[in-house]
Symmetry: D2
Subunit: 154 residues, 4 copies
Amino acid sequence: MELSKERAEFLARDFSRGFIAYCGFAADEVKRGYFRSSLRLRPEHRQQDGFVHAGVMAAMADHTAGYAGFTLIDEEHQILTIEFKINFLRPAQGDSLCCQSRVIREGRQLLVAESEVFATGEHEEKETARALVTLMAVPGAKLSAGDQVLGLRE
Amino acid sequence: MELSKERAEFLARDFSRGFIAYCGFAADEVKRGYFRSSLRLRPEHRQQDGFVHAGVMAAMADHTAGYAGFTLIDEEHQILTIEFKINFLRPAQGDSLCCQSRVIREGRQLLVAESEVFATGEHEEKETARALVTLMAVPGAKLSAGDQVLGLRE
Amino acid sequence: MELSKERAEFLARDFSRGFIAYCGFAADEVKRGYFRSSLRLRPEHRQQDGFVHAGVMAAMADHTAGYAGFTLIDEEHQILTIEFKINFLRPAQGDSLCCQSRVIREGRQLLVAESEVFATGEHEEKETARALVTLMAVPGAKLSAGDQVLGLRE
Amino acid sequence: MELSKERAEFLARDFSRGFIAYCGFAADEVKRGYFRSSLRLRPEHRQQDGFVHAGVMAAMADHTAGYAGFTLIDEEHQILTIEFKINFLRPAQGDSLCCQSRVIREGRQLLVAESEVFATGEHEEKETARALVTLMAVPGAKLSAGDQVLGLRE
């Protein structure tokens, strides 16, 4: 399945809503199986030591991976994160963060993406986090069903 | 080492700074090797489908685990997150989130904590995420050294 | 769905095949949503420093979690591991290992289990590893389809 | 620090001991920050469905990552696995497995490596698993101290 220009533009706009808009993450590039986002760093992204909070990088790695997944599914489906794991490679400083996510397993239902987060300062860019993210494509109609999503038995 | 009343109160106040204050997370209970936090849910915590964004739960699981770690180290040290993994057990809805973190490996340098995130609605509380978090205690003086933190060779 | 005595006995026998039999893992207890296994330690379970190899504990945590999952699905389905994460809490020594796995998310398709591995010596038992395991229930008939399993697109 | 020919040869020999020799894993290539290993598949590497057991790939991903770490530390230190996470991308079949591990964070104490496991059949090679592995370099002298390793408080 190709990624149409319209779909790519829709996903770039759709990327920044709710928590993601509140944090300031923005879409930068959309390709089939690939998504790149960025964040201009503000004081509210820091933790107690002045570095970027791990939670900021985790949210970015997760959400960008999810949208890399969206480039591979049709408009009837939504992407949910099943789980992810993230390694923080060095404390993140600088002016902005950038995240690249690539789908490394393309399934109809289950997708796996890898995200790399980079911090950019005046003179350099360094990788600050690497994540593996497991995603699931769910029919959009199912999402209104709340706990029924993903076939939970309760 | 005991956890003094003063230290516990300091950690409860210190918990909500920078990104954590911006998101609205608050400390609820502090014990030796244990930390509990909560979040009153607002529209900016949601993702595109109306559920709480995975990044919110990840930030909460990570930060609460870190402060569970702080209850076991002295004031000369800081806690950094090395990595974490989080499973999302069901979509999170309701009025508020609560997170409990317990240290399951207490080391001088390396600590491991487990976090459980619960969503609370009108009539019920359900576990929505479970995380394993690897933490490192670092001498506070080292943190100003930026990339030298954690002994990175570059 | 109840777990019948016959099904529990079948799963206990079925547990030790192929790689698992080769390593020497055995089933100890089977309950609905729960599985316990053990391993009598031999020299071939060690790594270069004399401790139990991390791979032994990982295989045990994964396989025992999978069988905890089997107690919750019908006989037409098989369990596959989607991914897992394991923290090694201390070097493992002693005479034997024991692993307890509990399903913490019961879904029709997706299950999540937590595994705890303990090393037992003359006088004590200590937790040596903790894992979170994501499992998928797949119709048995699909498994012969190889790469088609899990809906891989290629 | 360079990787001497003698050290590389030593690590290639040292790779296959204990559990790793028992499973049949062998070193194929050793470079600074990189290690490649392989496994000729035998019936005892399978699980109940005929595919390679997840535990085999996990042990391979972990151990090969550890030896990629060994190429970056001096002979006075040993490598221990702190934790790892592995995603299984497709069921593994074929004649042999190959694993490539690269260190993506080089620290004096903490190292992070990424492992890719491939299954090779008659006509093709496919990635079957991807792992992120957190490693710690520990002074060899400390390893005899058992539980004191890694500064565990007990």
